[in-house]
Each structure stands twice: as structure tokens, then as C-alpha cells.
Amino acid sequence: MSLITTLARLEAVDSGRAQPLATVRHRHLTDRPLVIVPLTTAGEAGAPLGALVGTDREAPRLLAVAQPRDRDLRFAFLAELAEAVLPHIEAYADVVEPAERNETDPATGKKTKVEVELCTDAPQLIVPSRAGIEFVRLLGRSMRFRRTAEDDPETPYPAPARVPLLGRWLTHYGERARVPGSSLLLAATDLLNRHWATGQSSLEDQHLGALLAWIDPPGGASGAEAALAAELGRDQHGQLLCPPAGPATDPAFDNRLLAPAIETYDRARQALAAAEDGLAADGRLGELSTAEREIRSLLAKVMLPTWDKVWQGLDLLRELPEGSRAEDRWTRDRWSFTAHRDRVSSGEPPQPRRDDAVTAAQKLASRETAQAQLEAQEALDDPLVLAGRRLAGEAFLADVTDVEMAYTESKRPSPRPLVTLRTDERPHLGERTKVYRSLDGKPQTAEFVRYAQEPDQEGEVLLVLRIMDRMGRGKEPAPGSLPEPGERIAWTLFEHDQRGGPKLPDPEETPWTHGGPPGADAATRAEHPDPVTPEDLL
């Protein structure tokens, strides 16, 4: 943790309110995010319990599973989830703009520009917490290999029609969420933690209720008190006043409320099955729906506070102006969305269980690029982030005191002007260290030449840089391309843009050191559904 962040946290402790960690919003928020608040059954990997879903904060759609260990009920839940999520995703798929993409012609190896479609916007999913993102991934994994009756009439326990498709989309979103700076799938806690420092630890910051209590404490309470109440406050029945943001539930809820309700439901179901005549069945059906309603209402009660808090968090975030480079990252999210849309529509199989060697290496490389890019862009967008880099000696602010013309010693001399700067900062400059400034939104490069003056009494130094580029083609620098004396400029030691890595071999060209090409069997294995057993509950 940087010392500036530490200070912000300590100030939060002292003031009882969260303190800003950013002065702009570093993640794009769409006009209509789809919020999903999921719950899962304790101890079961693939047994969702319920969810609130929707784009209208006043009208969440409640999905619930009365008996999570019943496969049919789980399938019904997933089918309903698909119904709630897929139309939202598909609404964005057909609104496109023309765009160009660089492609390498496989025959000639030449790069050409290709006209393609780019979705003008992309659907954004918001979950309460990081565990929610993990759960989206888990749901995606559990659904995408399922077979529907249409896929294979012989398949035992066929999945409802759109469930595998939802699995593929959730997998894509879960995977995209691993890319630094992406905003297709975000956790409310991550968003808030990026922008505010609370007076508690980052571990405790994973609790959405406690986190919001620090940022926006109700009724003038101190953040610390409000957070404590959110963490531990219970009603007279021992139930948390602020239930966990999921997907895990509070054990006290499971044991004291949910388990008895499920038992009642199970009994009602048995009774219905044992009903001997229509009249008895009618009555027992009524009991069954009462029991089901009770479970739905219990689940709604523990999910609604979280639902409201996610929207409250989004409100707070929308008060911050969006950082100017966040749009650039969102454009890449739109490309990602468009690309998956194309894979789905061209009938490609679901994403394999595990990446092949080349895909894994490509993903790692592109995420490292994205991480470096994100760090640079946030610093350029936000003086508070830049302050952290300045403290670390990776950037500095300086006043221009002098500009002196100089030229290269080649036959056609190019300008290499020397700029003298005054600063009280101590960047890690060595011989010919490259530094960059933003000129009309694009980086201009300079090299460190020397210190012109050692620290004076105010601790200020004079340092000389040589400007290397962006001065036009002429012998004299283009107008406006040079720093002017008196100007105060932020320089960074990190690059503003990231070069992509080298091109990796195609998967079919995977070298022997990495196991050779993934054989035909690997390709087909990825398609196999998970084995199912007649009884899949314990």
C-alpha cells in the first residue's frame, strides 16, 4: 500500500468518514447496468439459492430455489436467470457501428485493414462483491457444457433451452473481469474501494455494508460506528440487520430461518405426492405454495438490503466525473463484447475448461499490457493517482525555466532542444532515462541529460531534458510542440501507451516444449458435458 493510501485510511479513522482515493471515476458506468445479487447454498458448489436481477432499482426480479438440492428446481432457476439476463445482453448485440480492425493476411503475412462491426455499447453487469464475480464464473462453468434436449435428445437430465448460452456469456464476462481496467462485469465493493479509503482494513472493505457505512454513513453517525453496526448488528431473532452481500449466506440465517422453511417445503411436497384424492391434493398444493412463498420472502428479505446498497454505491460513483481515458478502456470492452457475440453467432463451441498453452500466454500478455496501461492512464487522468507515482519517484512536476535549441549531428539535423526544469521532487533519473509528458493527449518523449544545479536551500534542483520527438518533420520544431518557460508540466518515467508483445505461434504450431499442438482429442474433450449421476444430491 502506498503511503498516500495509508494516510488516506488513517485520515478516515481520524475523521470517521472515508477519504477520497481518486478525484475522477476510473471505471466507465453505462446508463443501464444490470445488477445481479446472487445467493448460493452453503457447502454446495453448484447450487444457487436465489438472486435479484434487473436494471430498474425499483423493480428487481426475484428468483428463488425452494429446495436447492433438487436438480429440476435448480434448472428452473437457471432458465429463469437466462430469461432475465440474456434479453439484456442481446439488446446490445444488434446496435452496431462500422469500425476497422487490423488483420494479418494468413497467406501473405501482410497487415490489412478490415471493415467490421463494433457494438456501439455493451451490456454491463454489476454484482455486489468480488465473491459475486467468482460466482458468476462458477455459474458460467456449471452451465456452458450442459446439453439441452435440442442439442441431444438422448441426453439424460437435459438442461432448459437457453441455459448453456447463458453459461457461455457468464464465462465470457467472468474472464473479461480478470482484465485490469475492464468494466463489463464489476463488483460494487471493488468500484467503491478504488475510489475511497475507509478507516478499516481492505479485508473488512469486502463487506459492502460496512464499506458504504464509511463512505456514506446514515444520519450523521461516524463511519466506524455505522460499519460496526453493519457488520455485527442483529435483531432480536439473531439475524443480521445487514445481511452478507452474498453469494454466501449467514449461518444463523441458514440454521434458524432457511433450514426450517425448506423442511416445511419438503414436507409439503411429500404430503402432496402422497395425496390420495384431488381435494386433498388441492389443499396440499396450497400448503406447498405457502411454503414456497415463505422461502421466497425469506430470500428476498436478505437480498434486498444488498440490492439497495449496490444502487446506492452506483449513485455515489456517478457523482464523480468519469476520467477522460476510461472511455478508451470501455471501447476495448465493447470490442470484447462484439467478439464474443461473433463467436456465439458463428456457432463456435463453448469456451474450453482450461486454456491451451497459446491462449493462456496470450491472455497473460494482454492482461499485463492492460495493467501497465491502466496504471498509466489513471495517473494521467487523476492528480491524486499521479501524486502516488510522484511520491514513488516515477513522475514529477516541474517548472520550465529555459529552452535552448540543439540539433542532432546527422546530415539532416533534427531538433533536439534542451529544456531546463526546476523542481523540488526527486524522480529516479539516471543517465538517459526516458521521461514522457502528455502533449495534446499523446506522449512526447524526452531524455534526462544532467542536473544543472544541486539542491538549493528550498531543496529545489535544476535538471536538463532533451526533447526527442513530436516536433514535426522540419528543421525547426513545429509551433506548440515545445515546453514554454514558465509552464508547469507533469513528467512521467513510465510510458503512456503500451506496446503489444510479440506475436505468439498459432495453437496448431505449439512447440514441443509446451506439449505440441493440442490434439484433436483435446478439442473434442472440451465439448463433453459434465457427467451426471441419477441422484446428484447428498
Binding site: 500500500m1 494516510l7 439497495d308 456517478r318
Partner: protein, 341 residues
């Protein structure tokens, strides 16, 4: 339980759903004389031994008290090793001497191979999905198993022909099913660490931390002794404690009251040098206390100045361009302004 006894229940406890599933899974794995468990073990760690058949021994380990059960276990291990066949010991009892007194440990199972090798088996109910599992949970299981390996090594040392495997078998549900699958975990690292911990740690509560949950020391420990043991723990609270210990909320309250910076996370301390309290750090940062020649103090003041400057410049920027800010806000949908329910 301890916390409840001391008057402030922490939000701990296990959901009965998880509890039931854990028990049901272990029972399923061990059903039919452990046939499935032995099959999994043979597939992964069988070596050149013949496959286990229905004749694998499952000795009765019941005896009175932990001491008796530990003796019974040692005897069963000796007999099974001498017999030279497969044997499955279900919930054996192992003794490990720490700081002069015996601690009793109960692994899920120990398998004796025909060649005299003993393998610790841990059965967990978290899933292995596509052959990977939650690394924190696997790490905890490995540390737990390493203690069992150490305890077993003391028995093996006095058992002819016996050797304890440093690879343990971790059995978990496969993917989203109730079918068991297994993975081999090499616990040499954890064993080395635990071995050193046991030789270094002298305080009983530290040792208790190093040992698996469910370890019993002396069942006849009086409440007074318990309380004095608890209060003697030095204030070493860190947020990680919250996930591991039911007393953590107690310690956190005390730590917060003292203004200790660790309440914000261990990493916070890293750059604060000798400063340990929130007030102390803030006073140093504000220039009210501390020696400016101390690098910590100097760095804090610089951080505070940079932070203040950045916040000011951002505020000035926004004041300069109210239209721009309004335009950004104007993009927000109408419902964003709706009152929070």
C-alpha cells in the same frame, strides 16, 4: 463457543447445510469399507503394490479416552504394516508431544500400503473443479496434514518396516457432483515449517494456532485457566484474524481503542517504521511531531503534502469547469437521482 462463554458471540458458526454435506460426503467416500477411497488412492499413489481388493483391513480403533485410542491406533498400524496388505484406518488417533504435554490429533483416515508406506488422507467438502481447488483451502488442508505426518512419523520410527509418505491424498467432490475425486499434495514444505514451529514455540496459544482445529490438549481445563490463557495473549491483532478466530472481534475492538495502525492491515505497518498509532502517524504527517530527519517522518510529510496538493488541484479544476462536470453528470440516467429505499 469460547467467545459465547466470554459474553460476546462472534459471527461464526457453520451452516447446517455445509455441515450435513460435509458429513454425507465423508460417509460416501468411506462407504463399503472405503473401497472408493482405496481406489482413488491406488490410482494416484499405488506405486507397484497390487490393487486393493475387498480384503483390505479396516481395523476397529475404538478405545477409552484419547490416550487409549492413540495406543489402539499405534497397535493397528503395527499390525497392518506387519500383515503386508492394504489397511484403512478410519479416524485414527495420533499423539504429538508439544511443549512437554501430549496433543491428540484425529485425521480423517490413514492408509497402510502393502509395502509399509503410510499415507494421510484428508477428506474435504470444497470442490475440485477442472482439477483445481481454492488454494487457501488446499493450503490449510496441507498444513493440517503435515501435522498428522509428523505425528505419524513418531509412530513409524518405532514400527518395523514402516515409512510415512510425504505425499498426502486430498479427497474432494468433483466439479458440481457428489462424486469424489482426489489429488496428491506434497507436504514436505509444511512439514518442515511445522517441525520448526514445534521446536521454537513455547507459548501454548501459539502452538494451538499451529495445530489443526479439533486438537485437544487437556479436556479438564478449567474456565479460569482458559480465561487467563486468553488474556495472556499479547495484542497481535491483524485483520486476517477475523477469518480464523472467534476472539478476533474482541481483539479488534481493543486494538482500535488503542489506535493501533495494524487494525488497517499488516501491510500498513511496513512503511511506518517506529510509528504505531493512528494519532502518532497523523501528527508526524502534519508536522506536529517527529524528527524530520527520520525517513519515515520525512516520507509521511511529503506524502501528506502531495496528497493535499492533488486534492486542491482537482477541486480547483472542477471549479474552473463546472459545465464539463455537469455534462458528465448529465449522462447519468434519471433514475440515478431517485431516492434510496
Amino acid at each position: 463457543m469460547l467467545a459465547t462463554a466470554l459474553g460476546s458471540p462472534a459471527p461464526f458458526g457453520q451452516s447446517q447445510f455445509a455441515f450435513m454435506r460435509g458429513n454425507a460426503f465423508e460417509a460416501k467416500v468411506k462407504a463399503d469399507g472405503g473401497a472408493e477411497l482405496l481406489r482413488l488412492l491406488y490410482e494416484r499413489l499405488g506405486g507397484s503394490s497390487p490393487a486393493p481388493g475387498p480384503d483390505a483391513a479396516t481395523p476397529d480403533l475404538s478405545a477409552a479416552g484419547p490416550e487409549g485410542r492413540a495406543a489402539r491406533t499405534a497397535l493397528a498400524l503395527r499390525e497392518a504394516t506387519a500383515a503386508g496388505g492394504w489397511a484403512l484406518l478410519d479416524h485414527p488417533m495420533l499423539a504429538l508431544e508439544v511443549a512437554g504435554s501430549p496433543a491428540y490429533l484425529e485425521p480423517d483416515a490413514v492408509v497402510v500400503h502393502p509395502d509399509g508406506r503410510w499415507t494421510v488422507v484428508e477428506i474435504k467438502s470444497f470442490p475440485m473443479i477442472d482439477a483445481s481447488a481454492d488454494a487457501a483451502k488446499v493450503g490449510a488442508a496441507a498444513r493440517q496434514a503435515a501435522v498428522y505426518v509428523l505425528a505419524l512419523e513418531r509412530v513409524a520410527a518405532v514400527t518395523e518396516g514402516a515409512e510415512v509418505g510425504h505425499q498426502v491424498l486430498l479427497v474432494c467432490p468433483k466439479d458440481f457432483s457428489n462424486l469424489p475425486t482426489a489429488s496428491v499434495v506434497d507436504v514436505r514444505k509444511q512439514r518442515a515449517v511445522t517441525r520448526r514451529q514445534l521446536t521454537r514455540l513455547t507459548r501454548i496459544e501459539d502452538i494451538a494456532d499451529a495445530l489443526p482445529e479439533g486438537t485437544t490438549f487437556d479436556p479438564a481445563c478449567s474456565p479460569q485457566e482458559l480465561e487467563s490463557a486468553v488474556s495472556s495473549v499479547t495484542a497481535a491483532y491483524a485483520p486476517e484474524c477475523l477469518a480464523a478466530c472467534e476472539l478476533a472481534f474482541h481483539c479488534r475492538a481493543r486494538s482500535r481503542a488503542e489506535g493501533a495502525v495494524e487494525t488497517l492491515g499488516r501491510s500498513v505497518r511496513g512503511e511506518l517504521g517506529g510509528l504505531t498509532t493512528v494519532a502518532g502517524v497523523l501528527a508526524a504527517a502534519a508536522g506536529k511531531e517527529g524528527d524530520p530527519a527520520d525517513p519515515t517522518v520525512a516520507a509521511l510529510r511529503r506524502a501528506a503534502a502531495l496528497r493535499a496538493e492533488a486534492l486542491e488541484s482537482a477541486a480547483a479544476l472542477r471549479a474552473q469547469a463546472p459545465e464539463g462536470a455537469a455534462a458528465v453528470r448529465g449522462q447519468a440516467p434519471e433514475e440515478a437521482g431517485a431516492a434510496c429505499r
